[in-house]
């Protein structure tokens, strides 16, 4: 099956999530190939899961002061801090028929490509259900999936460098709990590529492109003008609105 692969590019949070939805629509309408895209977040952003309460999870004032965008994803899962320099994000989008029907198996199947990419960077990672990739007992990648109208979307982050202290200023953790001890404990549970390697982020992207390509016929292409226009519309009319971000 042919897949379009779109090279890494920075967008703001609203366009990033809007592009995922616009591509889903395009594939559903038969206008776009199944797609793998790589992207970053500029400015840095917090994304929360579809079911999370924004006020429960996010220190909105700290985000405003730091110029960090806040967005609700169309996928479940937890709150994520997307640092502009600190991660690579991917999305894989295609008809359900291209993926295992069982949800956990489809996570395992897609995350297998990420595990392979880590292996080429000489990082021994493994998939850990439900939706994480770990190096030993530390998380290095979080992933989330939705299935709408016959189309599967999975997106996820590959942590390149983590700033736990900054993350804590932006997420709404109970202040009593934000102790050195807790920060140390989170540091122990989260890791990133830079903890294991001084590989530049470009090589990480290359490794991901290669591992997502090995069993797929890849067509290198960009976003279509129609997708970009639809994404701009979705970004303004949906993802940027309080009605969406503060839905819960």
């Amino acid at each position: 099956m042919q897949f379009r692969m779109i090279h890494f590019r920075y967008f703001d949070a609203f366009m990033n999530m809007a592009l995922d939805e616009a591509i889903m629509e395009g594939i559903r309408a038969g206008k776009a190939l199944p797609t793998i895209r790589f992207y970053g977040w500029k400015p840095s952003a917090i994304s929360i899961g579809y079911f999370q309460g924004v006020r429960n999870e996010v220190n909105l004032e700290a985000c405003r002061e730091a110029g960090v965008d806040v967005i609700r994803r169309m996928t479940g899962g937890g709150a994520v801090y997307h640092d502009t320099e600190g991660e690579v994000t991917y999305s894989i989008i295609g008809p359900l028929s291209l993926f295992p029907e069982n949800i956990l198996e489809s996570y395992r199947y897609i995350c297998g490509d990420l595990v392979d990419a880590f292996a080429t960077l000489e990082i021994n990672a493994h998939f850990e259900p439900i939706n994480d990739i770990m190096v030993m007992d530390q998380k290095i990648s979080g992933n989330a999936q939705t299935r709408r109208g016959g189309i599967l979307l999975q997106h996820g982050t590959i942590l390149y460098r983590v700033d736990v202290e900054k993350m804590f200023t932006l997420l709404n953790v109970d202040k009593v709990k934000v102790s050195d001890k807790l920060i140390k404990s989170v540091k122990k549970r989260v890791t990133s590529i830079s903890d294991y390697s001084d590989v530049p982020i470009k090589k990480v992207i290359k490794a991901l492109e290669k591992s997502f390509s090995w069993d797929r016929e890849i067509i290198r292409a960009g976003y279509s003008a129609e997708e970009m226009a639809r994404a701009r519309q979705l970004a303004e009319e949906k993802y940027r609105t309080d009605a969406w971000v503060a839905m819960r």
């Binding site: 899961g49 079911f51 999370q52 169309m74 479940g76 949800i103 439900i130 999936q145 939705t146 819960r248």
Partner: protein
């Protein structure tokens, strides 16, 4: 926490499912549950099904009939061809029960 002008009580409870996800429930209640908001980092496909679960739980009489409510959620998930991942119907009901009992004092 005592509630609003309608004399409702608002209760909250949080549960982290071992090996699973977190669920947080806020409920307004007196003799019946008048409002329920479920949040958390779990997965539910299709996502819109959560609103149907919340609607179904509204109007539940206290004390909660846990087996009946669990069956109702499980039946709804089957009817909607929905997959709930990281938390279970039982987790939803036990968290709701905690929300409507622990905060009423």
């Amino acid at each position: 926490m005592k509630g609003d002008e309608n004399q409702m009580t608002r209760g909250k409870a949080v549960k982290k499912v071992p090996g699973g996800k977190l669920i947080r429930i806020e409920a307004d209640y007196e003799e019946i549950v008048s409002d329920v908001k479920i949040t958390g980092d779990f997965f539910l496909h299709p996502e819109e099904c959560l609103i149907k679960i919340e609607q179904m739980l509204k109007g539940s009489r206290l004390p909660l009939d846990k087996p009946v409510l669990m069956n109702m959620i499980e039946s709804l998930l089957i009817k909607e061809h929905a997959d709930l991942i990281g938390v279970s119907a039982e987790d939803i009901i036990s968290t709701l029960e905690e929300a409507v009992t622990c905060s009423s004092a």
